[in-house]
């Protein structure tokens, strides 16, 4: 059962956490949102924040679309042995075996691409981490104002549909802000990883669907990715990864079971994909561009680096007049550094100007650690081309979902919004999508 609470002084924990994550500028505007407590099937209580003035139960029509992101999953990891529920969902619906994450192959930009259907030069979110020239600091792109393109979430809301976000990672909760009709704040959050374990995320997703029943729910399950990042190399990593995959599979199974037992299945499309893949580096295969630039007199002290694991964004901070020569030199130095795969202009990757002057990718089995060698100690990384392949399939009982088929066409994270929009009969945003409808 759910009930709506008016904003009051005692919203305490939730608001404090929001401030801690998002900073003062991104504090949710409580004046037009309410907090809603839902009781899940197991008796746990969930706190959802919902837009005021929107009737909580006012889903429009019977169609439901659920986007489940298995964060950091590799396409080959979904097998009938290890992840039977995911494999079954894939088998029964429409599979896109040739699916890719888009530059930069990181969590925030790809979730933004999923919900906007446009590339970062239009969405405003090119990477997880950027150098903010305004503040002079490297920071995460976790502010609602970082996202400058209308998401399919907002556009559905305007069309009278209801939406929900259940995102396990604090920075995703941050960047999508209060766009959805209903949103869940990740809790409890593991301090090191900054995410809520999948079992809690799924409890919240189930409660949101059962109690609030939005037309669209966007869910991020973070365990598989976090087990890629946080554990050690060697057999422990493989074991932990497999356990995480098996656990996430159980959670997806719970979601499917709920849809079926509640009668929603026949009206539902369930889009399952990853935001990026994962690549593990060896301890001695670290790229540190900072020290390479510091060794060049014309560059020393004038290059800022935003480290995105498998991708470094480089920013020239010296005088504008020297930029062209400096960028050329940065390119040369980066290409001469062991472990570097390629160097690109942000425009060629369709990244916004926030991505700086150059984007550098590392090779498989390597990672960036900048500015210091110890700044990125985790073996599992993404952001580089090795981590482009992702699983991507659409299940569900809706008559719009083809049964037991597969397509050889390229599918990309930015195809999610056009596909979701089309399922609800929503037109393209101004300027059109960069992605395309998959169904």
């Amino acid at each position: 059962m759910a009930h709506i609470q008016e904003p009051a002084g005692r919203v305490g924990w939730s608001v404090e956490r929001s401030r801690a994550v998002c900073g003062p500028r991104t504090r949710p505007d409580l004046s037009r949102r309410s907090l809603l407590t839902a009781t899940g099937a197991a008796g746990a209580t969930f706190l959802f924040s919902s837009a005021l003035g929107v009737p909580a139960y006012a889903a429009k029509g019977r169609r439901r679309v659920y986007v489940l992101v298995v964060d950091g999953c590799k396409p080959g990891e979904i097998t009938s042995e290890l992840t039977p529920r995911l494999a079954s969902l894939r088998h029964a619906g429409r599979n896109y075996p040739r699916a890719r994450s888009m530059p930069v192959m990181e969590t925030i930009p790809n979730h933004v691409m999923m919900m906007t259907g446009v590339r970062p030069d239009r969405s405003g979110v090119p990477a997880n981490s950027i150098f903010d020239r305004g503040t002079g600091e490297v920071r995460d792109m976790d502010r609602p104002t970082d996202l400058v393109f209308p998401t399919v979430i907002e556009r559905l809301n305007r069309a009278g549909f209801t939406t929900g976000t259940v995102l396990s990672k604090e920075y995703l909760y941050g960047v999508f802000g209060d766009r959805a009709t209903h949103r869940w704040e990740p809790s409890p959050v593991i301090p090191v990883s900054g995410h809520a374990p999948d079992v809690f995320t799924m409890d919240a997703a189930l409660a949101m669907v059962e109690e609030l029943d939005p037309n669209l729910v966007f869910v991020n399950l973070g365990d598989v990715d976090r087990m890629g990042h946080s554990d050690f190399t060697g057999p422990n990593l493989q074991l932990a990864r497999q356990l995480a995959l098996a656990e996430t599979d159980l959670q997806v199974g719970r979601f499917v079971d709920m849809l079926k037992t509640s009668g929603r299945w026949r009206h539902s499309a369930v889009i399952v994909l990853a935001d990026h893949s994962m690549d593990w580096s060896l301890p001695h295969q670290i790229v540190n561009l900072h020290s390479a630039f510091e060794a060049v007199p014309t560059l020393a002290g004038k290059v800022q680096i935003a480290d995105n694991g498998g991708a470094d964004l480089l920013y020239w901070t010296g005088p504008r007049s020297g930029r062209a020569a400096a960028v050329q030199k940065m390119r040369e130095v980066a290409l001469a550094t062991a472990g570097v795969l390629s160097v690109h202009s942000p425009a060629s990757q369709r990244l916004s100007s926030l991505a700086g002057d150059l984007v550098v990718y590392c090779r498989a089995g390597w990672r960036f650690s900048d500015p210091e060698y110890v700044d990125n100690p985790i073996p599992g990384n993404h952001g580089h081309p090795a981590t482009e392949p992702i699983p991507f399939f659409i299940g569900g009982g809706s008559d719009r979902v083809p049964r037991r088929t597969s397509s050889s066409r390229l599918a990309r994270t930015l195809d999610v919004a056009p596909t979701v929009g089309a399922l609800f009969g929503l037109g393209a945003p101004r300027g059109g999508y960069d992605g395309r409808t998959l169904l």
Partner: protein, 559 residues
């Protein structure tokens, strides 16, 4: 010595199951005799594109116009492509003049066709029609095509036996094309390379000496194209071919070959003659079109919608000389094997291949690969079988070193460059389809064979066995499934990425390609000395999409 040309009923155009008895095109024995006289080397098609396909034949206008003779008149031959076997709906046709300058071969690029469509074609000379061939165009570039099926063959030595694998493939009615991975013909003289360890010639080569001159190559190509099983297969399906070494001579490389001696003249001239005869006699695009001399570039791509793209390699024309492995008590390779200045592809082909192997092109990245790319490190083996293993596969040098310097194992820098490209760019679903070594394999391609299976794989490889060329049991003279079993077990134990290996049998494979998986069925034949050898499926292996691994499959493609 005059070759024995088997009696052929050339009026049997296609298998009855394919087009029915009504499909037989020759109405009278007189006309049949004329067709047999004019078109005695059959018809063929190849390199299908969505809107065009190569058509080939050889016309013999006078009895004196024998292959390689340089004699006979210039003549004009008509060609027709139709949707129906009775040629009521002709959709493309034309005329082409040929003569002794091109050994009376006819090769045209039939255009204006529809994608993924079956066609019938024939040639006409002096009012007489050739046998009718059947072919099929490739799917349209953007088609989300669901299935492809290839016959896969390599290594057909005339002297070692009858080409029953070709007959069994021709008996099928479900293939889109036949992939021939090289050693389509052999250069040897009679008595040099025959059946089994006694080197018996089941049927001798013509001319009766090693092919060296242009006339030799032309005659040998002509002889192979009189084989009834090969003729039927050519007439039924388009071929996609590449050459390995024997199309010129054994173990050829850019500037020489093991089987080229100074007395045989300048090697480059010999190679040019071999390439010219190949261009004349094979239904293949070399360069931009079908004109002779418009190019010698054999590496090329064939696209099949979004489902698959096939990159055919030429691993002989640009390669560095093979490393001669020196004897050593320690099984370690000569460092030159890994010299980055040495190449098996050449720089241009390597860059082209890396362009081919991108995920924005097609789901399955198929590579028609003349020599094996899977790393093979041999375990210690009984000395009795060492020489045999070396002879049949070249995999185990007689001096006991672990690498075969004639395949990718002898050019490790190129292999590293390719595997690193696949891994660095997250390229999925690359499948190498390989011939050359007269044995059947299914392998994962490990980034690091030493740490496999803990380390990544970058693709898979399926290797088909030989049509007739000698394998291990033939070399050792032992019964099948005896000595070879120990060798196979030894190899797969040490090389854990090698999942399947059969050193003993001859045959062919059928490759079935869907969006879900690629499956290779390995078929073996009974004694290749028998004209009517039987065929059975012996194993099936598959790679599931995005798995980057092979796995055994119980059920064959045919159910």
């Amino acid at each position: 010595m005059t070759p024995t040309c088997p009696a052929v009923d050339r009026r049997t155009v296609l298998s009855a199951g394919a087009v029915g008895a009504a499909a037989l095109t020759v109405a009278s024995s007189t006309r049949a005799d004329a067709a047999e006289r004019f078109f005695r080397h059959g018809v063929a098609s190849g390199d299908p594109r969505p809107r065009s396909v190569i058509l080939w034949t050889r016309v013999t206008p006078t009895e004196a116009s024998t292959p390689g003779s340089g004699r006979g008149p210039r003549v004009t031959v008509r060609w027709q492509v139709a949707r129906d076997v009775a040629f009521r709906r002709v959709v493309s046709q034309g005329r082409i003049t040929t003569g002794p300058s091109r050994d009376h071969t006819v090769k045209v690029d039939a255009t204006g066709l529809e994608p993924a469509t079956r066609y019938f074609y024939r040639f006409l000379y002096d009012g007489v029609a050739s046998r009718t061939g059947r072919t099929k165009t490739a799917p349209a570039p953007n088609a989300d095509h669901g299935r492809l099926r290839f016959g896969v063959v390599s290594c057909a030595n005339w002297q070692a036996g009858w080409f029953s694998p070709y007959r069994h493939l021709a008996n099928r009615d479900d293939l889109d094309l036949v992939l021939h991975l090289g050693d389509y013909l052999y250069e040897y003289a009679p008595g040099e390379y025959g059946y089994g360890n006694a080197e018996v010639d089941i049927r001798p080569h013509a001319p009766a000496h090693e092919m060296v001159n242009l006339g030799d190559y032309r005659q040998r190509h002509a002889q192979y194209k009189t084989d009834p099983d090969l003729q039927r297969l050519h007439a039924k399906y388009p071929f996609v071919v590449t050459w390995d070494d024997h199309e010129v001579t054994n173990d050829q490389w850019a500037d020489g070959a093991e089987n080229h001696q100074p007395a045989e003249g300048d090697y480059h001239e010999r190679k040019a003659r071999a390439h010219r005869a190949y261009d004349e006699w094979m239904p293949v695009r070399m360069g931009d079109g079908t004109a002779l001399g418009d190019g010698t570039r054999l590496f090329r791509r064939l696209s099949f919608g979004k489902l698959a793209e096939l990159s055919m390699l030429d691993l002989r024309t640009y390669r560095s000389e093979q490393v001669k492995l020196a004897a050593t008590p320690v099984p370690s390779p000569d460092p030159a094997i890994s010299d980055p200045s040495r190449t098996i592809t050449g720089n241009r082909q390597m860059e082209w291949l890396k362009e081919s192997l991108q995920d924005d092109r097609a789901l399955w990245k198929l590579v028609g690969n003349p020599v094996m790319i899977t790393p093979v490190v041999f375990p210690p083996l009984p000395t009795e079988v060492l020489a045999g293993v070396h002879d049949v596969t070249g995999l185990y040098p007689e001096d006991g070193l672990p690498y075969n310097a004639d395949q990718w194992d002898g050019y490790t820098a190129d292999r590293h460059e390719l595997f690193e490209h696949l891994r660095d760019h997250g390229v999925q679903n690359t499948v190498f389809l390989t011939g050359d070594i007269h044995s059947a394999w299914a392998c994962d391609l490990p980034v690091d064979a030493g740490t496999y299976p803990a380390s990544d794989t970058v693709g898979t490889e399926f290797v088909c066995t030989s049509v007739t060329s000698n394998n291990l049991k033939d070399i050792t003279g032992t019964p099948a499934r005896t000595t070879s079993l120990a060798v196979e077990a030894g190899i797969t134990t040490v090389n854990r990425h090698i999942k399947y290996l059969n050193f003993d049998d001859h045959g062919y494979s059928v490759l079935d390609i869907t969006r879900e998986r690629i499956q290779m069925d390995y078929f073996i034949i009974s004694d290749r000395a028998q004209k009517r050898a039987t065929s059975t499926r012996t194993a099936s292996w598959a790679t599931r999409v995005n798995s980057q691994q092979v796995q055994p499959v119980q059920k064959g493609i045919d159910g």
